[in-house]
Each structure stands twice: as C-alpha cells, then as structure tokens.
C-alpha cells in the first residue's frame, strides 16, 4: 500500500529547507485565525477591542455564552441552539443511515435498471443550489407548521446527509466481494442474515465515516436553518452569526467563545475519522 511515505533519504539541502519554510508559511496563515479566535474567546469585554496579544485570559466567556446571562446580554439562546443542532443533525444522520444503507447496498451489489439514475440524482442534490429547494420549502413549511421544527430540519437536511451516506457506502459495498455473502447463503443464512452477519460488519468503518461526515456537514450547514427555523429549532451556525448583529452592543469575545464551541464538535469528529476523510469528502471517488 502506498500509505507510507517515500523512504526518507534526509538531505538538509537549501531546497528542502526552503520547502519546509513554504509549508510553515501556509500553516501560519492556516492556523492564525483559529489561534486568534481562541485568544479572543479568552479576553474580557474591556480587553476585546483594546488588546491584541497581551492580556489576562479568562474562561468566563464560555460559561456566559452557555448560560441565561449570555442570552440576556446578546438575546441569543446559544445552549438551546446547541441542543437543536445535536437533535437536527443526529436525527438527520439516523434517518439517512436507515434509508441510505439499503439503497447503497442495492446500488453496490446489483446492476439494475435505474440504479445509476438514482445515484446520479443523489449526486445532483449535492451540487444543486440549496435555495432552489429551500424557497418552496419555506412556503410549504409555513403552511404545514414544519417551520422552525426539528422534524422540518431533519427532513431538509437529508439533502446534505443522504447523498453523502449513499455515495460513500456504495463505494464500500462495491469493494466487498459478493462471494462472502454467497458463502453465507450456502452456509444456510438468509439474505438478511448474510447481510447482517457478513457485509455489515465489514463496512462498519465506512458506515462510521459516512455517519460522522454527514453529521459534520449537517452541523456546518447554514442556509437551511437560516431560512427554515426561527428560534425553536435554530442551530449553532445561525446562533453564532447572531452574536455579530445582536442588539447594538458588540460582544466579540462572546462571539469568539460561541464560535469556538460551535467549531469544536466537527473538529473532534473529523480527527477521529481522518483515515477515511478523503474517501468521504470525494464521495468515494478517491479511495485513499
């Protein structure tokens, strides 16, 4: 496998030092905003605009953001948004797995009329402009009472999670030799038991990767909650932006603290599935 790096013949030449410098430059650029956000989140209100790097850090902001007091200050119910995000995204991923795994299995195992159309339709959702769907949904949700509900969000988030789950898992099922399940059939197991006993355990990493990645993308989504929720089912992404526009008074330190909290779950999840990330992000097109 090409996973390991090329055998290292270390040479400290001008070229290799230069290359390291270049890469260092990128990572200064790449990490600086994150570091700065962390710093800002540790500042007090009086330090937030008057200092850059030298200040006395405090963890108070995180508590404030999550509490009732923060809501009074900024009129953003951040802990509520956090809970909504978990419910929306968790629900959406669950639905996508329940529906997507059988579909991905069918598309990966059999060549049947329409399977390619189905897959392409799924992919087109990934690339379709969200508003094309959301604007009519905005009208429909307002008429049916799905506006600003978890159910409404779970439904619309399928647009994000379903294509991801189906495409990633299909590529995993395709990699699995059908003869394994055939052997189980001849051992006397029904198709369902063969699937559960043989196929499912073997694609478990794929399922985990697809589920977590779908969760990340659902979590990071902004357009859907922005338009289809108000206060009840609104999410972290919307809540973080609300800090900026909130009530005339600027609480940049609280904004940064909220941003940090909102950014943390995807980061943690992404690091746990880093091995499968490339394959997931490319919808199974690149099997790293």
């Amino acid at each position: 496998m090409a996973r390991e790096m090329m055998p290292g013949r270390r040479r400290f030449t001008a070229g290799s030092v230069g290359a390291d410098l270049l890469i260092l430059l990128w990572f200064v650029f790449s990490l600086f905003p994150i570091v700065w956000m962390v710093l800002l989140a540790l500042k007090t209100r009086s330090q937030q605009t008057s200092t850059y790097f030298a200040f006395s850090p405090t963890l108070e902001n995180f508590g404030t953001v999550m509490s009732r007091r923060g809501e009074d200050l900024t009129s953003v119910n951040f802990s509520g948004a956090l809970l909504s995000s978990v419910l929306n995204c968790g629900g959406a991923v669950l639905v996508s797995l329940l529906i997507g795994i059988p579909a991905a299995y069918a598309a990966g195992r059999w060549k049947y009329r329409g399977s390619e159309d189905l897959m392409f339709q799924m992919l087109s959702f990934r690339f379709a402009p969200e508003l094309m769907v959301v604007v009519p949904l905005f009208v429909i949700y307002n008429q049916t009472g799905l506006f600003d509900t978890t159910y409404g969000m779970i439904w619309v988030l399928q647009l994000v999670t379903m294509p991801l789950v189906v495409w990633i898992l299909r590529s995993y099922f395709q990699d699995l030799s059908p003869e394994l399940e055939q052997a189980a059939l001849l051992d006397g197991y029904t198709r369902r038991r063969a699937f559960v006993m043989v196929a499912l355990p073997l694609v478990r990493p794929g399922i985990a990767a697809a589920a977590l990645l779908a969760f990340i993308f659902a979590w990071n989504n902004y357009v859907f909650p922005l338009i289809l929720t108000d206060s009840e089912a609104t999410t972290v992404t919307v809540a973080v932006t609300k800090f900026l526009g909130g009530g005339g008074q600027a609480y940049y330190n609280l904004t940064a603290a909220a941003a940090l909290i909102g950014a943390l779950p995807p980061l943690v999840l992404a690091l746990t599935i880093q091995r499968y990330l490339v394959r997931g992000l490319s919808f199974g097109a690149v099997k790293a």
Binding site: E179, L180, A183, L185, L186, D187, G188, Y189, T190, L202
Partner: protein, 376 residues
C-alpha cells in the same frame, strides 16, 4: 445424498456467456469433475447449481427436486470458493462453525460443533490454526479452511471450485489423496471444478470437459483419455500436448509429415481425403532402445516412425524429446536411461489403437475425433 441434474442450463452475464445449454447428470454419491480452461464456465456451472446466479434458461434439480426459484440457503449445497470467501472478521474456528450454526444444515450443540471441526481440521492439517484470522494464513491454509467449511457439514451436493489450486506441489498431492479417499468414503455427490487434467483424471469418477461455456464431452477418465471427442479435449489432457499432424488420404493410406508417417486407413473409420493424426507424446515408445520399456499390448499392430532428435530436455526421470520426423516436429517423452542425444536418429513406435484420427481443420480450429488407427 442426491442426484444432480442440469438440463439446458444457460447463464449469461449481460452479453457474456457463462454457460450455454449445459446438460449434465451426476449420480448419487458420484465424484464428478468439470475440467476446462479459465473462462470455460466452470465456476458459473457451480454457481448455477448453488442458485447464486440467475440462470437465463434451463433447470437444475437436486435429488429429483426442481431448484427453480429455490433460494441458495434452501438447496442444501456447500461450496468451496476459488477466492476462499472466508469471513475476514471471524477466526478459522468461527468460519468453520458458521454452517453448523445457521440451523439449516442440522442442529449441533457446542460439543458436536467442536467435534466436527476438530475432525475435519485434523484431516486437512489445519487444526493448529483454529484461533487465527484468515488474514494471518497463507493462501494454501486459507484454501484448506474453505474446503473445511464445506466438509464440516452434511449436504446434498458439494461444489468444489479449484480447491487445490493454491497449494504447493507436495501438499497438493497429499490433499488429492485425502480428497480421493474422502470421495470414496463419503456418499456426498460432489461437483469438482479444475483446470488440471491430472487432478481430473485422478479424482473424477466421471469428467465433463467444458469449453467456452459449452459441454464438449462427458465420460469416465478412461473414455476421455482414450476417446477424446475432439482435438480440444485431446489437447486438454496430457502434458506435453498431443502431436497433431495434417495427413492426406491417398491409395488407402493416411500419409503425414511428408511421408514419414504412413498408416493404412482403418476399416470402419469414415475419412475423407484429408485427416488429422494425433499422437500423444507419452504413447510413443522407443522402438530401438528399450523394447520392454514400451507398455504396448502384445501383438498389437504398431505404427513405426523414424526421426532425428532436435532437442532433448530433461524433466527428472523423463526426457522430453523434440524429434524431426519428415517435415514436421514431434514431441515424445522417454525414460532418461539411455536417452538419445541431440542429433541422434531414433526409431519410434505407437500402437495403432493410440493413434487418434480427427477431422481436418484449419490451424487453431478444433475438430471432432473420427476414430483410432486400429481397424475395428
């Protein structure tokens, strides 16, 4: 215990033919070998029997029961896959226990499971590997586990897809002997697929030869060897391959190799004006050097040839000789004692009964056998 019948079985993959109009009947308890090169439809035959592929036409019956529409898990057949198809997440023991735990191959308590597994793994020489995972095994060990997963359970039919192909030569010989014993002891109908003619001749009670998804010949090893249906079967059996010479029929004689090969047209064989003469390298004897070495039947009429040794290649106790006979080259195999050197002129002979006559054809074209050189 069951007979196995295939009637007009046709299985295609899209436009690619797997098997076409296959007719086979395997007797109850028979050890039946399907022989053919890769792509001949051997695996498709097995999978059609197992119900793992959808047939386009035809009928499979096991024990007289039509298997049309019957799911694989209801057919009570076991199969050893060429790819092994071992469950990677299960240990060898669990792999072998899998058919015993499904509830469709009988009911076995824990002790009985262990006993059966112990028995079969001892036979196959893999009883020290029970706790290993498939990825920790060599290909030969995996293949034996795959075979074990079949033998561990009772079934109406055993389907064995090249079960010895990945074993090393020594182990293969030993396993072949085991399988032969097993085939004789057990009363389970077995369909055994291989591309190795020696395996087929050694193991098969009967052999079917497949080519391009079609059945070419069915018969006992003796029949297949003595009376190959056509040049394809003749070439498939025997190493080195059979010598095929283009001959002409003139004045009641078949003449080939520029006159160096000449035999009377045997009575009862309907030849035209052209014919192909087939001589197996191992059927040719040295007529000059070791008169008792050739196992020719006493009093049998023989065809005599003379040629110059062009190349002599030692293969252990035997020597493969390329001999210029007339205007062609003939391969023969001789004992390495007193083997001729390159450039020597030698005399050869072959029983007329071992001379195969085939219909004429272009190079590469397979033609039917007309008969032997011995008058009927």
């Amino acid at each position: 215990m069951a007979t196995l019948e295939l009637e007009g079985v046709t299985t295609r993959y899209g436009k690619v033919v797997g098997v076409e109009d296959l007719e086979l009947t395997v007797g109850d308890g028979e050890f039946f070998v399907v022989l053919g090169p890769s792509g001949a439809g051997k695996t498709t035959t097995l999978k059609s029997v197992a119900g793992l592929v959808d047939m386009d036409a035809g009928r499979v019956s096991i024990g007289g029961r039509d298997m049309g529409g019957v799911e694989p898990y209801h057919r009570n057949v076991a199969m050893a896959f060429e790819s092994y198809a071992l469950y990677p997440q299960k240990t060898v023991f669990e792999n072998l226990a899998s058919p015993l735990r499904s509830g469709r191959t009988g009911t076995y308590d824990k002790a009985e499971q262990s006993k059966r597994i112990e028995l079969v793994t001892t036979t196959l020489g893999i009883n020290h590997l029970l706790k290993r995972f498939p990825r920790e095994l060599s290909n030969g060990q995996r293949q034996r586990v795959a075979l074990g997963r079949v033998l561990v359970r009772p079934a109406d039919v055993y389907l064995l897809d090249e079960p010895l192909s990945h074993l090393d030569a020594k182990l293969r010989a030993a396993m072949r002997a085991e399988l032969k014993q097993l085939g004789e002891d057990s009363s389970t109908t077995s369909l055994y697929v291989t591309h190795d003619y020696q395996e087929a001749l050694d193991l098969g009670e009967r052999i079917a030869v497949l080519r391009h998804g079609r059945l070419v010949q069915v018969g006992t090893p003796e029949q297949i060897w003595r009376e190959p249906a056509d040049t394809f079967v003749a070439k498939a059996l025997g190493q080195p391959e059979i010598n095929l010479l283009d001959g002409e029929v003139t004045g009641g004689r078949i003449v080939a190799a520029g006159g160096a090969v000449s035999l009377p047209v045997p009575s009862g064989v309907d030849v035209g004006d052209r014919v192909r003469v087939g001589l197996r390298p191992r059927d040719l004897d040295r007529a000059d050097a070791d008169p008792d070495g050739g196992a020719h039947r006493a009093g049998a009429e023989r065809l005599h040839l003379r040629g110059r040794v062009h190349l002599a290649e030692r293969l252990g106790r035997l020597v493969e000789l390329s001999i210029e006979v007339g205007d062609t080259e003939i391969i023969m195999v001789a004992g390495s004692d007193h083997a001729p050197g390159e450039g020597d002129v030698i005399d050869m002979a072959i029983d007329l009964a071992d001379v195969h006559l085939f219909a004429p054809g272009a190079p590469g074209e397979e033609t039917a056998r007309l008969g032997s050189g011995r008058p009927r």
